[in-house]
Symmetry: C2
Subunit: 261 residues, 2 copies
DNA sequence: TAGTGGTCTAGACCACTCC
DNA sequence: GAGTGGTCTAGACCACTAC
């Protein structure tokens, strides 16, 4: 007795630092304001720069900070709510809600996409999709409030859309839009979505104005017709700036709050 | 001429390492297999341990590795598909799809939740919710395939459900279930969902068997009645092991693939 | 050119798990 | 007690931005 139970759970320094900084952000900083640079912050808190950076990384992951090489660290605005599931069961491109077609090409699908294309619809046939069948790919970008928030790659098997081979537009946005138009001629039977965490590949990162490896929310959508899976879309959203919304109730939208952690 | 254009884009070491390791995982390792320890891997690749760890962290973020202190690093199984939006417009607890009530209490809602409760339904009234009104909280856990995948905190304003004050079950699962039962008596008008990246708070982390700060997918759901927002649920899913599925097409489920990054 | 964040090193010690 | 991953340090240099 006499020895008061102290420090039984020694909190890591970076975790405590994160808490302190988080409160400081709430109270003493405005959105867009630049923080002191990392070397000074580290000195001010009496820790190594690496430790300070661990705290900043967490805060950036939670969308509270924005760091840019050569520029500095700024206080991030609240995450943008991006509607993902509001317009239901529609082909990509049908409602122009911020998406912009960039380019189209014809290649072989990566293995993961082949699997998604191969699995049939519940009702339909499930005509297997082989890895050596060509697919048309359409690249799109989604811009919200002037900021790029998502990069999408859409995979359409050449044989799932009849008119696809007749497209002769040169590479570029025009060709991409032509592919989307052909897709819309089909009858959409249903769709399927999943969300998971990933890290941006080099090409996506460039499109999203981030460094490779940046955390992204990967939204995978499968589009079904009676004949099976007619297309697969893999959209990567910036995890730091986006909150994906699935508006089941139609007219309501969460607009401003931040609840995460 | 003669000087071949090399290394114009000097890839960071950890990024290259990640690629190499990723391929090795695909080819030379089975799910569940343990990797050599970090010190040996670092030596083998001729980098500092910190650099090696940067690559491992990325792979863990992508759900390819699982690291446990005192144990080692193992190859993770493919992410589990967890249905989030399949049963539509139903109160929490109505379909026992892996959720288990843990406890219930009565407190004040955190600021972020107050905002969510305050915003009214499109159709309904929008009777403002004040920060000093008490809310009932229900804690639930979701288990899939023997693994804890999500921790949920449900907030129910005391005055949004009449029978709530009559509950006299002692703290614990029984009380939690009693609160959910009362909630089910109301007529659900609609709901609203959003997904964003967060980091696990200490309590959630313990429930998910992870360290604090671990990346999680935060699913925020608002439940509407004619009177306004009747409840708000904040569920945190392990981002490393989960893929959230929103099955619009009813009977179809993505089951096995991994597409992220 | 100066200042920023991004990468990397070579150590050290700690917390945890398992034997 | 041995071995693992987690935290932390005090440096160094690089890539990028802006002036």
């Amino acid at each position: 007795m006499g020895t008061t139970q102290l420090e039984t759970v020694p909190e890591p320094k970076y975790w405590h630092l994160k808490t302190v900084l988080s409160e400081a952000l709430d109270q003493d900083f405005a959105v867009g304001e630049v923080l002191p640079n990392e070397r000074e912050l580290a000195a001010r808190f009496g820790v190594a720069r690496a430790t300070l950076r661990q705290a900043l990384e967490q805060l950036e992951l939670e969308g509270r900070l924005q760091r840019r090489r050569g520029v500095g660290t700024t206080v991030a605005p609240p995450r943008v709510g991006v509607a993902v599931g509001s317009t239901r069961h529609s082909w990509p491109g049908e409602s122009a809600d911020g998406w912009e077609a960039v380019d189209a090409a014809e290649t072989l699908a990566p293995a993961a996409v082949v699997k998604l294309l191969g699995a049939g619809n519940g009702a339909g046939s499930g005509t297997g999709f082989a890895a050596d069948q060509p697919v048309h790919t359409v690249r799109r970008t989604r811009v919200t409030q002037g900021q790029p928030v998502a990069a999408e790659l859409l995979y359409v098997p050449a044989d799932s859309v009849p008119g696809l081979s007749a497209i002769d537009a040169p590479a570029g946005p025009a060709r991409a839009r032509a592919v989307l138009r052909e897709l819309e001629r089909l009858v959409l039977d249903g769709q399927d979505r999943s969300v998971e965490l990933g890290s941006a590949r080099a090409d996506d990162a460039k499109q999203l104005d981030r460094l490779p490896g940046a955390p992204v929310l990967v939204v995978t959508t499968r589009y079904f017709t009676a004949a099976g899976t007619a297309a697969v879309s893999v959209a990567t959203y910036r995890a730091d700036t986006c909150r994906l919304t699935f508006g089941d109730s139609g007219d309501v939208e969460i607009t401003e709050t931040r609840v995460a952690s």
